[in-house]
Symmetry: C2
Subunit: 186 residues, 2 copies
């Protein structure tokens, strides 16, 4: 059998991972349990992924990608609000939050997995945010000397911080975060 | 023997925890290994702490507490810079960073430990920051309507975010973070 992924099996495996995290928690997850739920053999999973963490990262990334698209309605602040509220909804209404928390936990003792989180999630977001922020800068929506990299860390980093601490996340919090990040405390 | 802690044993246990994290990593830590290194019996540790995570959290908190004291030299911005640079130094030059990462990783599947991180680290910091920021507000160093809770999340949350991702942390980064948090991006 060629190493090309069978798309239906791949999706069944990713769906099974997210469903099992929701039901059992990340630390109870195993390749065996995912294989059983997805109706595939363990070898099918191991052919495409090296670990539970790698499967879950791909499942998390797949659900995150459409939400972190960078629309441009002409209003950077409003577009960022829409996107960040969408991320908060993904966290609070799907298995994404538990999946991301599990991957970050596993990543603390698995440098390869943490590096994959950087490559698959953070780096992509950095590139797209930089592009969207450049347009905002040209339009004068942010200062000419605005530190876009740090602004990005603040917007996404604080959401992640609150997620990993199990703190509340809601649209009103996004408004508060955007207010400080865009207008400052002084 | 009374349940009162023997101070010398307690300190030996905390020191052994941090030293072992530095050498082996959090995930290789065990009560057995800590007891052996500290020269105490396992029961001595179990009498005072319920898990490896609880020992490590206390060790981390002990090294963090003096660094997150809130001095008041009359300049809120400068005082925050000193304190945050001190935290970054603690992270980059001692076992604190590895200890905190380990506790946060374990906390993702141990709600009691995550709750203890909140009580022992976050909540204390919230109270002290609120008090220091109130003085700054009275002096007009931050706006009358400044959102102090969100400002705090940004300053400490982004450092934690970068720590957990293994991203670089240095004094220049603190300057960038303070600039956006205090003056905003627009």
């Amino acid at each position: 059998m060629p190493a090309v992924r069978n798309e239906r099996s791949r999706q069944a495996i990713l769906d099974a991972s997210i469903a099992l995290i929701d039901e059992l928690g990340y630390d109870k997850l195993s390749i065996e349990a995912i294989a059983r739920r997805a109706g595939v053999g363990k070898q099918t999973i191991y052919r495409w992924w090296s670990s539970v963490g790698a499967v879950v990262l791909e499942a998390a990334t797949q659900s995150l990608d459409p939400v972190v698209a960078f629309p441009d309605t002409g209003d950077f602040f409003a577009d960022m609000r829409s996107q960040l509220v969408g991320i908060v909804e993904l966290i609070t209404t799907t298995g994404f939050g538990a999946a991301y928390r599990g991957v970050m936990a596993a990543g603390q003792s698995d440098p390869g997995l943490l590096e994959a989180v950087y490559t698959e999630v953070i780096e992509q977001n950095e590139t797209a945010f930089q592009a969207r922020a450049s347009i905002a800068r040209e339009r004068g929506e942010i200062r000419a000397d605005a530190d876009v990299a740090t602004l990005r860390d603040i917007l996404y980093g604080v959401i992640e911080y609150r997620l990993l601490h199990g703190m509340s996340l809601e649209a009103a919090y996004i408004d508060a975060l955007l207010a400080v990040a865009f207008d400052g405390a002084r």
